[in-house]
Amino acid sequence: MAIEAKTPKIEIVDVHKQFAVPGGERQVVDGVSFEVNRGEFVAVIGPSGCGKSTLFNIMAGLEEPTSGELKVDGADAIGVRENVAYMPQKDLLFPWRTIAENCALGLEVQGVWKLEARKRARDLFATFGLSGFEDSHPFELSGGMRQRAALLRTVVQGRDILLLDEPFGALDSLTRIEMQNWLQGVWAKHEWTAVMITHDIREAIYLADRVIVLSARPTSVRLNVEIDLPRPRELSVITSPEFAAIEEQLIETLHEESRKALELQGTLL
């Protein structure tokens, strides 16, 4: 039992991914390894086009790595989709479905009876600040609410791991801060294991237990930083010296990698 409790929720060991391109192969992921513990919130951050999405697709079971291991609860999870619920960058709420129907989509696809699926989704509406909007259509909601609905649709699937791909990337900065604050509060009450891709360094530090910085393509782990800030985190934590120290470290590493990414593009052009 003791050993099992220590088994990480997700283990990624030396994952490589190559794509065939005209005139050869392109190395996109180059030996990425990290672990995510049960109930941990990990933020993954890296320069644009570094291969984060490929890594995510591998974790979601949508793509298979060229080599390397992916384990969930110690078992091989390559190509397995049942472990994770995925939240894409766009909310992708279908205009022909009401919010409750949209949120129940994942359950319905998995074969849960329609009314039961919608009931399970409805039960979470209060938590997600969407009460009263069950029967609205997506185009009647604000950007922040749509994003919360997309997160509800992810969470309600009841899967062990949440993969969030820049969940707040499309929001204006005020709404984004509000959403981060809200998510942080909801997180404190639930033991969800989550991996989030983001471009926003502050968002990563504020929300995550650990931040992983990826290098420019072909990507590997440059930095794996534990965020020791106490929870629940107030918004004011952003101005604390501890926060600033981590931020500085991350910014420096990221800038270095972004420069490399730009040089790489320069040589390709």
């Binding site: 697709n57 979601a60 079971g61 949508l62 989709r81 049942e82 994770v84 619920a85 995925y86 894409p88 960058q89 766009k90 992708l92 279908f94 205009p95 022909w96 989509l105 994942g106 319905e108 696809v109 998995q110 259509h137 185009f139 009647e140 699937q157």
Partner: protein
């Protein structure tokens, strides 16, 4: 002198703006229907005046009033022919819809079929209907079948293309999302591709239903027992230009009614689409 009108002009746009804002808004259909009705009335009035003024012979150009009175005197006969045309249109168009759905769904599931069928679809549209319609009568006689084939041939193409393009309009990331939820190709179709395609389908439906009526009349024109097409052909041979135009007017009314009814069906089948359009326009 120059300064005075400039000062006078200034408040005018403001009050005009206020007056515009306060004016009670008419129901939207009045706003939509009024301009075309007024223009049509204007054209008809000009037509009547020209015919009266130049005393044109009714065989050459009958006046609108003459068309209406002549048409009214034959109302029962025209109505019978209109029903026959409606039947051809309905059966032919239904056949076209069935064929279009089968082809479009098959093509959506198989890229191989798509490459194989698309050129044939385009080729089918290069067949001149004017040449094929008389042949249909030679092959299939004067009954319903040749006319249904002509109508279907004219209308299945826009619906098929509308559907295929509608399926293709589905957000690509929706595929990844549904896939991560565990959906296969069929569920992807049912949950995302099919509903995504419905607005395009209704647009195509609107275009092709007007073609359907024209196609039916054309197929009747070359030979039929009844229908507005054969009626027009007979009246033309009798130099009853007024009755030909009366039948044309009935055709127009039928086409417009069918066209408008597609909006009604669309609202019933996909009520969300019009709501979304209105929301986007900012109401």
């Amino acid at each position: 002198m120059t300064a005075v009108p400039a000062q006078d002009e200034k408040p005018i746009p403001e009050t005009a703006h206020l007056r515009r804002a306060r004016r009670p808004r008419l129901p939207s259909w009045v706003g939509l229907a009024l301009p075309p009705l007024l223009i049509s009335l204007g054209i008809l009035a000009a037509w009547q005046i020209i015919v009266d003024h130049f005393e044109l012979r009714a065989q050459i150009l009958p006046s609108p009033i003459r068309i209406v009175t002549a048409g009214w005197s034959q109302a029962d006969i025209i109505w019978g022919h209109a029903l026959a045309t409606l039947q051809v249109t309905a059966v032919g168009f239904t056949a076209a819809l069935v064929v279009a759905w089968i082809i479009a769904v098959a093509v959506d599931f198989s890229p191989w079929l798509r490459r194989g069928i698309m050129p044939l679809l385009v080729a089918s549209q290069t067949i001149p209907v004017i040449a094929i319609a008389p042949l249909m009568i030679i092959w299939f006689g004067f009954g319903l079948l040749p006319k249904v084939i002509v109508v279907a041939l004219v209308t299945f193409f826009p619906v098929t293309v509308g559907l295929i393009e509608g399926f293709a309009k589905t957000d690509r990331e929706a595929g990844a999302l549904l896939s991560s939820m565990g959906a296969g190709r069929w569920k992807l179709f049912r949950y995302a591709r099919l509903p995504s395609a419905l607005p395009s389908f209704f647009t195509a439906l609107r275009i092709s239903i007007v073609y359907a009526v024209t196609g039916a009349i054309f197929s009747e024109y070359v030979g039929a027992k009844s229908g507005l097409g054969i009626y027009m052909s007979m009246q033309k041979n009798a130099f009853r230009t007024d009755l030909v135009l009366a039948a044309v007017a009935v055709t127009a009314v039928v086409s417009i009614t069918l066209y408008l009814s597609t909006f009604l069906v669309e609202r019933l089948v996909i009520p969300w689409a019009s709501k979304e359009r209105r929301a986007r326009r900012g109401h």
